[in-house]
């Protein structure tokens, strides 16, 4: 068995050599380049004496970002990716949580880094890929790695108002990418069009599939997703064959008219996840690319991106409700009732995941990890950790799993997880806000923030812009005289919902 992601990189380099692994609109990195660059980055970090430590990568959306991630991995450490467009306060929260001693960044971002609360060593990626290569150090490090070591920590919305870092092992990632590729079956001829921000969980497919299959990933400039004709030109020009996009990405681009603008017919495989894809959107994509296969995926970051999948067999229509399907290889799904008993066939229960894809828990937070990563209550024979997703599911008679909503107030907004409590916790911090409620309109994908008090709407939006990632900024901010309450004194969320949705 391969002991780490590093062995996989080495294998693919031998096999694919000069082929392009990653390309953006300015540069490209071949598998050979990847070998040299990651080894140089790793050489420098190993010399600094870190092993099995979190290392921050605050970088731009380009080919050198995955190179930096993999260089860190080769050095025996794990990366914590941060998009350079994230606001200062949020970045400082991640710095505070990880207490990382090293941060990798792009030269042009050095000015921004100075403003942060980071006190460790700042290394410039552009310098590192030119650094001296120390083959002996790399070789020794390879022998020290094991598959249970962390590979990365990705931060996601937390209901306590602090982002939580999900730590994933080499093993979980290798298992997931293998399992996805059993379904996707990519070859070295395939070209993936990356949509996901590189610091987000969904990007792991675009980053790692090339290493497993020899395929190429095109890092599409972010602003092209706002401009249908430019995105279409990119898809045509690069000959993109595979899209692993968020369902929201497929929907947004469909709405912006992308399907009419794409001239070529190269797209063969479309894998989507993150939220429920409306039937009419799938129908439009199927009509435009009739020979392509469409795959619905489901799963949280805590289960290494996805744990179930469904290959669409039917022609979709407006009424289509897709199942989330069956588990990927080496994943196991259980439905469990509130009291820890097994859910009866056909009934709704909480979706729990076990198997190789379960991640290592939340960074530096044993209490939270113990709450969600628990002993399987149905197993009293041996230790078996399951992850409780908080999602509700139901099996149909054919054994297909269907998604049935959330247990708590987490929502999916354009493919991103948002805890509504987190929005409210931030709202309460704004001077002049008396009471506030966040509600989500699923049909229109609008995050509403409703408040009472003496403060301008504009100041509220500004506060969110400065403190949370842009996808978490409410798109509708409404002031009302008084927030309605239930007889027990709690805020009447349903009544607020009725007011704005």
């Amino acid at each position: 068995m391969l002991n780490s992601v590093v062995s996989i990189i080495e294998k693919s380099i031998k096999k694919y050599g000069k082929k392009i692994a990653y390309i953006d609109n300015e540069n490209s990195v071949s598998f050979d380049d990847l070998e040299v660059m990651t080894s140089k980055i790793a050489s420098r970090i190993i010399q600094m004496g870190c092993f099995n430590c979190p290392i921050l990568v605050l970088s731009k959306r380009n080919v050198y970002t995955p190179v930096a991630y993999l260089g860190i991995v080769k050095s025996g450490n794990y990366y914590v990716p941060i998009d350079s467009t994230l606001n200062e306060n949020r970045i400082n929260q991640i710095i505070g949580a990880t207490k990382s001693a090293i941060l990798l960044t792009n030269r042009e971002l050095l000015g921004d880094i100075e403003k942060l609360n980071f006190v460790g060593n700042v290394l410039v990626i552009e310098d590192l890929i030119e650094a001296r290569l120390e083959p002996l150090l790399i070789n020794d490090m390879n022998k020290k790695m094991n598959p249970m070591m962390p590979l990365y920590t990705i931060f996601t919305s937390g209901s306590t108002g602090r982002p939580k870092g999900v730590i994933t092992s080499h093993l979980a990632l290798i298992n997931y990418i293998d399992a996805v590729n059993e379904v996707l079956n990519l070859s070295e001829e395939d070209i993936l069009g990356n949509q996901s921000p590189l610091d987000y969980i969904a990007a792991i497919r675009d980053i790692y599939l090339p290493l497993f299959t020899g395929a190429t990933t095109v890092i599409i400039p972010k602003n092209e997703f706002a401009m249908a004709s430019e995105l279409a030109a990119r898809i045509d020009k690069q000959g993109i064959t595979v899209l692993c996009w968020s369902a929201a990405g497929l929907e947004m681009t469909y709405k912006s008219g992308l399907l009419e603008e794409i001239r070529s017919n190269n797209i063969k495989k479309v894998l989507f996840s993150g939220s429920i894809l409306p039937g009419r959107v799938l129908e439009a994509w199927q009509t435009r690319f009739p020979t392509a296969s469409f795959i619905n995926q489901y799963g949280p970051t805590e289960a290494t991106a996805s744990c179930t999948y469904y290959v669409v067999k039917e022609k979709a229509s407006a009424n289509t409700v897709l199942p989330i399907g069956i588990p990927y290889s080496n994943y196991n799904i259980l439905l469990i009732n509130e009291d820890g008993t097994k859910t009866e066939d056909g009934s709704i229960g909480e979706i729990c995941v076990s198997g190789l894809g379960v991640t290592l828990g939340y960074f530096g937070d044993k209490v939270l990890s113990d709450e969600y990563f628990i002993q399987n209550p149905l197993n009293d024979k041996y230790r078996e950790i399951i992850y409780k997703t908080g999602d509700l599911g139901r099996y149909d008679e054919a054994g297909m799993l269907f998604f049935c909503g959330r247990k708590d107030r987490q929502v999916k907004h354009f493919g991103h997880r948002i805890e509504l409590e987190e929005i409210e916790l931030y709202g309460k911090k704004i001077e002049g806000v008396q009471e506030c409620v966040a509600v989500y309109d699923n049909d229109k994908s609008i995050l509403h923030f409703v408040y009472s008090g003496e403060v301008e709407k504009k100041d509220i939006i500004l506060f969110f812009r400065n403190n949370v990632p842009s996808f978490m900024v409410p798109r509708s901010v409404e002031k009302i005289e008084e927030i309605p309450h239930l007889p027990n004194g709690k805020i009447d969320i349903k009544a607020v919902q009725k007011l704005v949705i």
């Binding site: 706002a226 912006s256 992308l258 500004l462």
Partner: protein, 74 residues
């Protein structure tokens, strides 16, 4: 122009639309912003902004957006 500025500022009060000239090229507006803005413009000015008009050039500045609205309203 005033109406347009109002729409833009409602979506992104943190941006000075009177000075920015690379709203799209520099990634100041993201795709969520653009979708919201396009929907509002279609509604407010009774126009239909087709995909072929969704280019960085047309949305990079308030001046260019005004031009686009003028073209589409006639």
């Amino acid at each position: 122009m005033e109406k347009l500025l109002q729409i833009l500022e409602d979506v992104r009060p943190d941006i000075n639309f009177l000075v920015e000239e690379k709203l799209i090229t520099d990634g100041i507006l993201d795709s969520f912003d653009v979708i919201t803005i396009v929907e509002e413009l279609n509604k407010e000015f009774d126009i239909d902004i087709k995909p072929k008009y969704l280019t960085a050039e047309n949305f990079n500045s308030i001046k260019n957006m005004t031009k686009l609205i003028d073209i589409l309203s006639n």
